[in-house]
């Protein structure tokens, strides 16, 4: 919905911009009208002061009535500039009418000098880039020139040329006073008629041809030029507005693309008893070339990856979508991560004419065992926190995806332990530039993390992002900044198994095996010692009874449960059925001489363990002990 609104706004653009132009034109014409009003006012005052002097002679009634009306009317729009009425579509016609009225008035009053005033109307109308406006101005001007010419002949200031007789010869010619002759329309009409009779020349036609046609011709040419100018400007404005519209649409589409792209990247981060995943992405442009992803396969293994496409913008984002999808689909079908990269690489190589490459690293974790497999395609080395210290995990380099289709990738296995964190990031982190063109760098990143080894992934991400931002200062972000982190919290149930020959010395192998896991979960030495004693008692029984004198195989399976912490140890052999729980408990109150040692081992196990069970099933002796830790 939000985006529809954006598109509508883009379509509205030229209406909006022409409306703005109309406002501007209204304002500037209002100012021009005001200037003309002041000019008329000054002229009127001068005429009042200087009338009947040798410098200026006029006793024209029109000047005294028309000028004040004209300059009051012309002054009005100026004071409406900040009012709502400005926005009314009729305002411009009102302004135009006002100009035509005022200029016609001046033309009638001063027919000799004012013809240029009509150009003002045409040029002013030109400002609206509207043909109809110009047409109104032009036709209005033509009509008003005509009217004012004839009206001026009788009502305006005396113009000897119009009438065709000088003011010196006229009074004698008509036998009237000079004042009567100049100011009286009737007298002027009489003169014209007389001349008409005497010379057989049509004076009205003379005015029309000599005055009207030349003036109308000049105005027509101005009109034609104005028409061209405003048409061209209109086209330019329209094309600019279309370009702006296009750009807006592009920007809008890019931002939609970004939304789609970001919606493609998982944002719900699991944080449970077994693990936490956290991802962050900050694109430098509208659409980026970085991605991260995580998902679980049907074996409950968690797979997470990060990638960086060599191109930015649209090509980068398209490849990013493709690479991310390919990795996920192959990773869900293929066991080996190296093969996932190999298959992805082959796909990306096909028709890669634009030579867009992808660096990526994938990790897959078996949550039960904490075993992690990594495979790298020329990506930055991940950061691994182990024993409370971060280090760069140097993986076989591999090669970029999409380069050559026959690249072989390698797997690296590492064992994760409780509390271990592994962080993948893109080079936007380490290659963030400041204003001096220095890079943030791997060392700074490592130090930042090692100064904050007690922090959660989220806190680390926030710290890193703040540090990068602070480092960058006023420099622009040049590359996408992306990271995904994984924290292993240990499995709820961890199951391990070992198979040994029934040789007495193998009790050490079993002890070490069990202790290696116990020591990670508990510091309860007493319980560890008791478990070791139990292992010794039970395994020595198997050695003695299961296959003796032959040597067979015995399996020891441990299950470490986290909540509440407990260990279950199961001993399995395929030897003779033998239930050690049947052995009678020794009498622990007898003196040394009376004592027989038999049964003491099982007795100790029963006493120190919380549960002990035996069953013979499928040809197997299965003895299980459990102890809470």
């Amino acid at each position: 919905m939000k985006d529809n609104r954006k598109l509508l706004m883009a379509d509205d653009f030229d209406i909006k911009s022409f409306k703005e132009n109309e406002m501007a034109a209204n304002k500037s014409l209002s100012v021009a009208a005001f200037a003309l009003a002041i000019f008329l006012a000054v002229l009127w005052i001068l005429i009042m002061v200087l009338s009947n002097t040798r410098i200026l002679h006029t006793s024209n009634r029109l000047v005294h009535i028309g000028f004040p009306i004209a300059f009051v009317l012309l002054g009005i729009p100026f004071f409406q500039r900040k009012r709502k009425i400005m926005e009314h579509p009729g305002f411009k016609y009102a302004l135009l009418g006002l100009f035509i009225f005022a200029i016609s008035l001046i033309n009638i009053a001063e027919p000799v000098h004012s013809i240029l005033g009509f150009a003002i109307i045409i040029v002013g109308a030109c400002h609206y880039y509207s043909k109809s406006m110009l047409r109104v101005a032009f036709i209005g001007s033509l009509i008003m020139i005509f009217i004012s010419l004839y009206a001026g002949t009788f009502l305006g200031d005396w113009d000897a040329n119009l009438i065709g007789i000088s003011e010196i010869s006229a009074p004698s010619f008509l036998e009237i006073t000079k004042e009567e002759f100049v100011d009286n329309p009737h007298t002027r009409w009489l003169i014209i008629r007389k001349l008409f009779e005497e010379e057989k020349v049509n004076r009205y036609l003379n005015i029309f041809v000599n005055y009207y046609l030349t003036r109308a011709g000049a105005i027509t040419i101005i009109y034609l030029i104005a028409l061209q100018l405003s048409g061209r400007t209109y086209k330019m404005l329209t094309s600019v507005s279309q370009n702006v519209k296009k750009e807006e649409r592009m920007a809008n589409e890019l931002s939609l693309a970004k939304d789609i792209q970001l919606s493609f990247i998982p944002k719900d981060f699991p944080n449970n008893d077994e693990y936490q995943i956290l991802g962050a992405i900050h694109s430098a442009k509208e659409v980026g070339g970085d991605f991260y992803d995580y998902f679980q396969n049907d074996k409950s293994e968690v797979i997470f990856d990060i990638g960086d496409v060599s191109g930015k913008g649209i090509p980068g984002s398209l490849t990013m979508m493709r690479a991310k999808t390919l990795i996920k689909s192959f990773a869900l079908k293929t066991e080996e991560l190296s093969e996932v990269l190999e298959q992805t690489n082959k796909e990306l190589c096909e028709n890669n004419d634009s030579n867009v490459f992808v660096t990526a690293v994938i990790g897959k974790i078996n949550l039960d065992s904490g075993e992690m497999v990594l495979s790298n395609a020329a990506h930055n080395p991940p950061l691994l926190k182990r024993n409370g210290k971060f280090e760069y995990l140097i993986l076989p380099k591999g090669f970029v995806l999409g380069g050559f289709d026959s690249i072989i990738y390698k797997n690296t296995k590492i064992q994760l332990f409780e509390g271990d964190q592994i962080i993948f990031y893109t080079d936007g982190v380490t290659e963030a530039m400041n204003e001096k063109d220095e890079m943030f760098g791997e060392e700074r990143l490592l130090k930042l993390f090692n100064d904050n080894t007690d922090k959660s992934l989220k806190e680390l991400f926030i710290l890193a992002s703040q540090a990068i931002e602070k480092f960058r200062g006023k420099a622009e972000q040049s590359d996408d900044i992306t990271a995904i982190g994984f924290e292993y919290k240990g499995s709820e149930v961890m199951t391990r198994e070992i198979v040994v020959s029934t040789l007495p010395e193998n009790v050490d192998v079993l002890s070490e095996f069990v202790n290696s896991y116990l020591n990670k979960y508990t510091t309860n030495n007493r319980a560890i010692a008791q478990i070791n004693v139990a292992i010794d008692e039970l395994f020595s029984n198997i050695v003695k009874f299961a296959y003796h004198p032959e040597i067979g195989k015995a399996t020891l399976r441990i299950e470490l449960r986290k909540n509440p912490l407990s260990i279950t140890i199961t001993f399995i052999d395929h030897g003779r059925p033998f239930n050690p729980l049947d052995i009678a408990s020794p009498d622990v109150y007898k003196s040394a001489e009376e004592r027989n040692i038999g049964g003491l081992g099982i007795f100790i196990v029963k006493k120190t363990m919380d549960e002990i069970t035996y069953e013979y099933k499928g040809g197997q002796n299965i003895l299980t002990i459990k102890k809470h830790l």
Binding site: P504, E505, V507, D508, S511, N525, R526, A529, Q530, N532, V533, D536, E537, F539, S540, V543, P586, D587, V588, Y589, K590, S591, A592, E593, R595, I597, L600, G601, F603, I604, K607, T608
Partner: protein
């Protein structure tokens, strides 16, 4: 397992280190029985012994039986874990402890 034997006339001190279990018991047994002749006082130093299983108890019992005939056997520096095993199995009443 570490076994350190110290002779002082008819006194033998055996210091054990590590764990005394079914795997290490035979070695200790072999070491012990060739050394007990004429010994009137046998001292076990368990300071560095972490734990023992019934195999260890068996040796202590048989040695106690021998020493009951030819002298005295005492145990020193027994840790809590081992003491608990002794308590549980009634060995506390047949062994002599001295610090």
């Amino acid at each position: 397992m570490d076994i350190i034997k110290t002779f002082d006339g008819d006194t033998l001190t055996i210091a054990l280190g590590g764990k005394l279990d079914s795997n290490s018991a035979p070695e200790l047994e072999a070491e012990l029985f060739k050394s007990l002749e004429g010994i009137k006082l046998l001292i076990w130093d368990f300071e560095k012994l972490y734990y023992l299983s019934s195999a260890g108890l068996r040796i202590l019992l048989s040695t106690q039986k021998i020493m009951n005939k030819q002298g005295k056997m005492i145990l020193r520096h027994v840790n809590e874990i081992i003491m608990e095993t002794f308590d549980m199995t009634g060995f506390t009443s047949i062994l002599t402890f001295e610090d």
